[in-house]
């Protein structure tokens, strides 16, 4: 399973022809206490760079973008009861949604873990 990162601080785990998407530990640290996550419903068509979800911290709402084209297959229902999972396990149980992979070539433009780490260090 390969993990990719966007420069908007989303991560995407690719497993066969589906992918799991969330926001990075760096992102949750910047946002602070997460109080609500608005997820796309199953069947929602996403396009790379377009709006996919909204994450609300105590102080502000922030958009989460789709890392690639595809269709949402499932939202993480655990976030409805416990949005703070995004703070405590951003790159694990705090995932946002799963999606199909519309165009695998789009993954080539994303960062791997080492590249993302040096990207964050540069911010």
């Amino acid at each position: 399973m390969a993990r990719y990162f966007t420069d908007e601080h989303e991560w995407i785990d690719v497993d066969g022809d589906t992918a799991t998407v969330g926001i990075t530990d760096y992102a949750q640290g910047q946002l602070g206490d997460i109080v609500f996550v608005e997820l796309p419903g199953a069947g929602t068509a996403l396009s790379k760079g377009g709006d996919a979800a909204v994450v609300e911290s105590v102080k502000a709402a922030s958009d989460v973008y789709a890392p690639i084209d595809g269709e949402v297959t499932e939202g993480n229902s655990a976030l409805e009861d416990d949005p703070a999972l995004v703070n405590t396990a951003p790159e694990g149980d705090g995932w946002f949604f799963k999606m199909t992979i519309g165009d695998a070539s789009q993954l080539d433009g994303l960062m791997d873990e080492a590249a993302y780490k040096s990207f964050c260090d540069s911010l």
């Binding site: 989303e10 608005e38 105590v58």
Partner: protein, 376 residues
């Protein structure tokens, strides 16, 4: 992911505690022309600490002004709707800077000092306020901007315990009730302490020399009850307390009567007038206003933020001016101007957030009861 921060201002100065905040690990943002700490360990933790113990806030960006001169009270009463004949030495009162149409230019605190009046005004408006006061006050009135002074707010139920170990003055802190102030020393430095704040909790605002700010902040944060708290929690605390924030809930487009601030127009002035906007303000006190500022409890967990429309059916009846998630209540809360016929407590409304309709109910404020110390 992108963050829509509401704490963005150009041109950035540093305040006396800038290095102190950074050394304590604060995340600094630009606000009102200065670098300010928005949070240390996290807004919710800092919010809850202030409600249960004591939080130290740096509000040195606010403007501290000293007015003096002949016939001072009469001169100031032409600018502010305050009754200075009832403001005795050692007392502080809330007042408003109004334009000629009765719109709010700022809200402020006025204290009676010996031979002078001391004003604390909002940071984002202080330069405009100074210009306005210089323009409207007679030349004989001297206006000193005390820009060498820092301002700290120690807020929370245990603030009095921590401060009493350091503040020495003629008046014991136990006798300093809400909206009174006195002169004290802390570690040998002259300070002025007012029993006031903007969190809804008991607490104090301490005006102190900028060069002593780090020493005094260290002393207070050395007490087990006290932690430094950022502006993020200051905003969530004041929202729970139902207190308006200038630039959000108050502006030149709002009248203080719409905002429920009739107490800011002192009784004698309501009949006498003689302050900017008096005609409109005094008419609104008698006749009421077309819209009112209300508290809203929001169903679910999704917060409604500033700018969200308030609906009844398909009709827009209002707009949210402050909104967020209440850590104390574990639910979203908001403040909004709504048409007066929909402003009654218990009225069911809807708020439009990103094309979703959130059910909301008009509720009395404060959302979390005030705990000001008014004496035993």
């Amino acid at each position: 992911m992108s963050e829509e921060t509401e704490f963005e201002e150009p041109e950035t100065g540093t305040l006396p505690l800038d290095a102190w905040h950074r050394a304590k690990g604060a995340r600094m943002v630009e606000f009102a022309g200065y670098w300010m700490p928005i949070q240390y360990e996290g807004i919710v933790a800092e919010h809850e600490w202030t409600r249960s113990s004591a939080g130290l806030f740096d509000v040195s960006h606010m403007g501290q002004l000293l007015l003096s001169g002949p016939d001072l009270d009469a001169a100031v009463e032409t600018v502010l709707p305050i009754d200075l004949s009832t403001l005795k030495l050692g007392m502080q009162r809330y007042s408003l800077l109004l334009d000629d149409e009765g719109g709010v230019l700022d809200d402020l605190m006025v204290s009676r000092w010996p031979d002078s009046l001391y004003l604390v005004v909002n940071g984002a408006t202080k330069w405009d306020d100074i210009g306005h006061l210089r323009e409207y006050l007679p030349d004989e009135i001297t206006l000193n901007h005390l820009d060498e002074q820092a301002l700290l707010a120690l807020q929370g139920p245990k603030a009095v315990d921590a401060l009493a170990r350091h503040a020495q003055g003629d008046l014991p802190l136990a006798d300093l009730t809400f909206m009174k102030f006195g002169r004290y020393t802390i570690a040998g430095h002259d300070v002025t302490i007012a029993r006031a704040g903007y969190t809804g909790e008991d607490g104090f605002e301490i005006s102190l020399p900028g060069e002593a700010a780090a020493e005094i902040a260290d002393l207070l944060c050395g007490e087990p009850e006290v932690k430094p708290i950022g502006l993020g929690a200051r905003d969530s605390l004041r929202l729970e307390a139902g207190l308006p924030l200038y630039g959000h809930d108050l502006s030149p487009e709002t009248s203080p009567i719409e905002a429920g601030l009739v107490f800011g127009i002192n009784k004698r002035r309501r009949t006498e007038g003689g302050y900017p906007g008096a005609e409109r303000i005094n008419r609104e006190i008698v006749e009421g206003t077309a819209r009112k500022w209300v508290g809203l409890k929001v169903e679910g967990r999704m917060p409604a933020r500033e700018g969200a429309e308030v609906l009844v059916g398909d009709a827009k009846v209002g707009v949210v001016t402050s909104g967020g998630f209440s850590p104390t209540l574990g639910a979203p809360i908001a403040m909004a101007y709504v048409a007066s016929e929909h402003a009654g407590s218990g009225t069911a409304l809807e708020i439009l957030v990103r094309s979703k309709r959130l059910a909301a109910t008009v509720v009395p404020t404060p959302f979390v009861p005030h705990r000001y110390y008014r004496g035993k």
